[in-house]
């Protein structure tokens, strides 16, 4: 057996089936099979499982198909049947089943159907902290094997789950460090309206934001982003909305303002209003999301669900256009960053936990994107900005810090981010904060 990541700090876990689109199989039977699958684990450990009708349950079960926003798209009938996330906040513990499989419930058998109970027992092993095992008859063996529903949990899995949560009857708790979420999840009563929506794009274990937002129409913004409408932001003490090289100079964008850095540092007279340099941007614009200079010299601004293309200071006719005209999905409501990546001179677009690659010939996103941002190791999710500087390196920005990225090793050069103010604006640590950041 293999243990991965952390484990739950409590043993009385809750679970909830969160999908309404189950037209092929009976909802009741699905819940019954899922419940039986949980019981397999509770039978041999201290764990107990209680079904609730709430988005705040520890383990949420979904039936999804194709791309469903977690970086692991399903592939239709066959090969990948389901996947699950190891214990943690946000989507930690959740299990996703490929809706397009031929699921068999209530011990029905058929040659080319797949037993939901069998797959669920395996996926819930991941939800509890077990990874794949190479033991052929283990439940956590990665390839599907049929099992009778009254089977006994194989040794390999039984030992694994008891190391994590202790056997049903023994007093010891196991010696693995216990995961403690920063806040105790409120367990809502079952009267929670079923229509409560959840947006999870920006929740991360280290975020200080509340774990769930309940409104899809106003997705959460980064907690440290103070809405700065008229005051000039203090560049020694702020995050930035976008950073880009334009005409060989480095531009930082925050709120309505932009700072321009040349070879000798910050130009006098900056920050300036963005609208002074680029004309006819929306009047009510409070910030830009991302900016980059295309390889043909045009400058692209991403603002909300639209993007503008400028030739120098002037917008090209026919803009703004919606992000969907680039082939981005229509549920995308903002872009975090856009960069022409020095390593292959391709254009990359980042948003939330995903990123896309743009075919500069067709101005469309390439087919086998989006992909999960974890490939850009060390950068995390929901970045603020990214750009390629004169030194040919790629830089990622988040909150008030940034990372230099090693393109060949596909990871940040140093895990510890550095301060934007200190490196880019020569702020000394003592002078940060107050005023508009005089040096």
């Amino acid at each position: 057996y293999t243990l991965q990541g952390q484990k739950w700090h409590h043993v009385n876990l809750t679970w909830s089936l969160r999908t309404r689109r189950l037209d092929k199989v009976d909802h009741g039977w699905v819940r019954s099979d899922l419940n039986r699958a949980f019981q397999v684990w509770s039978k041999y450990s201290k764990l107990t499982f209680r079904e609730v009708n709430s988005e705040s349950a520890d383990i949420l079960v979904f039936f999804e198909k194709g791309y469903h926003g977690d970086g692991y798209p399903f592939d239709g009938p066959g090969q990948v049947l389901a996947h699950a996330f190891f214990p943690g906040t946000g989507r930690g513990g959740d299990a996703h089943f490929d809706e397009e499989e031929e699921w068999l419930v209530a011990d029905k058998t058929s040659k080319d159907g797949t037993s939901l109970f069998r797959v669920a027992v395996h996926e819930f092993g991941h939800s509890l902290g077990l990874s794949h095992s190479s033991v052929q008859d283990a439940l956590m063996f990665p390839w599907y094997q049929d099992l009778q529903s009254d089977f006994e949990l194989p040794n390999d899995d039984r030992i694994g789950i008891q190391v994590l949560y202790g056997a049903k009857d023994d007093k010891s708790w196991g010696d693995i460090p216990v995961y403690r979420p920063t806040s105790q999840k409120p367990i809502l009563s079952t009267t929670v309206p079923a229509t409560t929506a959840v947006t999870r794009y920006s929740t991360m274990a280290s975020d200080t934001t509340p774990e769930y937002t309940t409104s899809r129409t106003t997705p959460p913004r980064r907690p440290d982003v103070a809405v700065v409408v008229d005051e000039k932001p203090d560049f020694c003490n702020t995050s930035f909305d976008a950073v880009s090289i334009i005409r060989k100079e480095t531009f930082f964008f925050k709120g309505k303002y932009t700072w321009r850095l040349g070879t000798k540092g910050l130009y006098a007279g900056y920050p300036a209003l963005i609208s002074r340099l680029w004309y006819n941007l929306p009047e009510n614009m409070t910030q830009v999301d991302a900016v980059y200079e295309r390889q043909d010299g045009k400058i692209v601004f991403f603002i909300g669900r639209n993007y503008y293309v400028f030739d120098g200071n002037n917008p090209l006719p026919g803009y703004p256009k919606p992000l969907t005209t680039l082939g981005l999905p229509d549920e995308l409501d903002h872009v975090d960053a856009a960069v022409v990546w020095g390593h292959n001179s391709k254009t990359y677009i980042f948003s939330g936990t995903m990123y896309w690659r743009c075919d500069d010939e067709t101005n469309q996103m390439e087919l086998d994107y989006p992909r999960d941002m974890s490939i850009w190791r060390g950068v995390g999710y929901n970045i603020d900005a990214a750009f390629q500087w004169h030194d040919g390196a790629t830089y990622f920005f988040k909150n008030r810090d940034f990372w230099k990225f090693n393109d060949l090793r596909m990871r940040v050069e140093q895990e510890e981010p550095r301060s934007i103010g200190e490196f880019w604006f020569n702020c000394t640590a003592t002078r940060s904060g107050g005023g508009n950041g005089d040096r």
Partner: protein, 87 residues
């Protein structure tokens, strides 16, 4: 002795080995050229995990294994925190 035929390794095999953790996914973007050893090692690891003869080659048993329905979680994860306990 008759030389065994070597079968070419196609993209979908690369994709499978990356998707399930046998090859580093970071090569998706950098497209670093792999050397034969890296690929053979990956196949060997997959064959060991799948309890089929370990040949390091794309043989019939390996093709069969790759066709089987399975869980989408990678078998080997470079993430910190994965501990394999000796039995």
């Amino acid at each position: 002795r008759r030389r065994t035929e070597s079968t070419p390794i196609y993209d979908d095999v690369h994709g499978y080995l990356m998707k399930f953790g046998y090859l580093p996914e970071s090569d998706l973007e950098t497209g670093n050229l792999r050397d034969g050893n890296q690929l053979q090692d990956a196949l060997r690891t997959l064959q060991t995990f799948g309890n089929i003869p370990v040949t390091g080659k794309m043989d019939a048993a390996t093709k069969e294994l790759m066709k089987k329905p399975r869980c989408g979680v990678p078998d080997l994860s470079p993430a910190a925190g994965q501990r394999r306990t000796k039995r």
